[in-house]
Symmetry: C2
Subunit: 260 residues, 2 copies
């Protein structure tokens, strides 16, 4: 499995419009520090899967290479916005899997175009796709939201965004399942004490410790967490990294961590 972080930002992205904090200022000067809408890409056995669809170049990207399927964590605009344009294309239908959510986003269900919206995924029931088994797990968010436990026979990666903490049944499942890599929502900095729909950094680190994963990457990162991490007392340690747009994890790296 090859896993690529395509976008690692929260809904405001980095830089946030109108913000003059150090992280936003840095991102305006150094494009490598920009963070786009949170989404990722998985390649396995020649198949390409997209996790979320908020990137605005989605149609262009799918022209380069049509995905085998799109897996949607939830129907907030920053996670599905690219579908608004892609749907009006032509050709082979593209399967879209996601949570059961009667509303979806705006008129996506009413005018699906080339998107083949499949029935809502059932939590903990594995979805068998070519080369990839996906087990959806419920997350805590303001709209029905799923995390995806991805397995290709070589490595196990849990993609867990957007969430505030984890539901008990999800945490129990993950501890049994034993991911090699955990990718987790860490939208807010430590100073954001009472987040409502996303983890702050201490919450994310506690979850990672409880899950006992050998490595973890934080994503869905807001500009103020980036600003906090620019200071000297950046509280990350151990096998935990901040993801960045374009970062790739390959099967070898996952296996190495699993065996090591």
């Amino acid at each position: 499995m090859n896993f690529r972080f395509v976008g690692t930002g929260d809904s405001a992205q980095v830089p946030r419009f109108g913000c003059d904090c150090p992280a936003c200022g840095r991102a305006r000067v150094l494009s490598s520090h920009r963070r786009g809408a949170c989404c990722a890409e998985v390649r396995v056995d020649g198949y390409r899967y997209l996790l979320d669809a908020g990137r605005t170049d989605l149609a262009d990207s799918c022209e380069q290479e049509t995905p085998e399927a799109i897996l949607v964590t939830h129907y907030h605009a920053d996670h599905v916005q690219g579908l608004f344009h892609l749907r009006w294309g032509t050709g082979t239908m593209i399967p879209v899997y996601g949570p059961k959510d009667a509303n979806g986003c705006a008129d996506l269900y009413r005018h699906p175009g080339v998107l083949d919206f499949r029935p809502g995924l059932k939590p903990f029931r594995p979805l068998m796709l070519p080369g990839l088994t996906v087990t959806p797990v419920p997350l805590n968010h303001s709209k029905p939201t799923l995390g995806f436990c991805l397995e290709d026979g070589g490595g196990r990666l849990a993609y867990l965004t957007d969430t505030l903490g984890l539901p008990g049944e999800t945490e129990r499942f993950l501890r049994d399942w034993g991911p090699d890599v955990v990718v987790l929502d860490a939208t807010h900095p430590s100073t954001h004490h009472e987040p409502r729909n996303h983890n702050n950094l201490p919450m994310a680190l506690q979850i990672i410790e409880r899950l006992g994963a050998s490595s973890a990457y934080l994503t869905h990162i807001g500009h103020d967490l980036d600003a906090e991490c620019m200071t000297a007392d950046m509280p990350l340690s151990g096998p935990v990294w901040l993801a960045h747009d374009g970062l790739e994890l390959d099967a070898g790296a996952m296996m190495a961590r699993r065996c090591g």
Copy 2:
């Protein structure tokens, strides 16, 4: 008044995802033939106004220069999609004017962020903005939709997209008002005989003739109209042009046409 066509495509844009027609093929090779989401920009007396907000680089564009206001024709995703990202910014609120539409698009009203959604505009009641008078006129579309009649004391421009024909009261208003320039929806080619929500080319040309404008530009153009226009028997004539992304009309040009 300086008027710029920022995007001139229909909801599928050009090239349309997956399409191998001559127009889509050309747009893939020559970026000057691409058409983005339909929107425009007006500059007058140092103020910048945006007509619709479907462009995906909206937040970046507003960082370069904050608009005085955003005028939304209607709340279909291809006309407001850029607001999903922009709203989560910070700083001075940006006024957004548009039709009365209880639903808006997705959760924009519920989470407006830096967007100051003003009460729905009343048809035919002029809105006085710095340097610009905007008279909203009803259009025929599948969602409440307004055209905008723009006047800066020098030139008069009617921006009429998205629409199928024109409501009688709108057509009567426009004939009395006497625009120098008409910008009109021409999504479909002549061969699309029974369009439902947008004009085909013959309908657009008939409207322009009835309005008696000295010049007209077609916008919200679909790939199949572009393909039709690539053939030798392209039926445009007289003072009617296909708009293209980036095309600018300046006050002088409008005045020249008005006097000539």
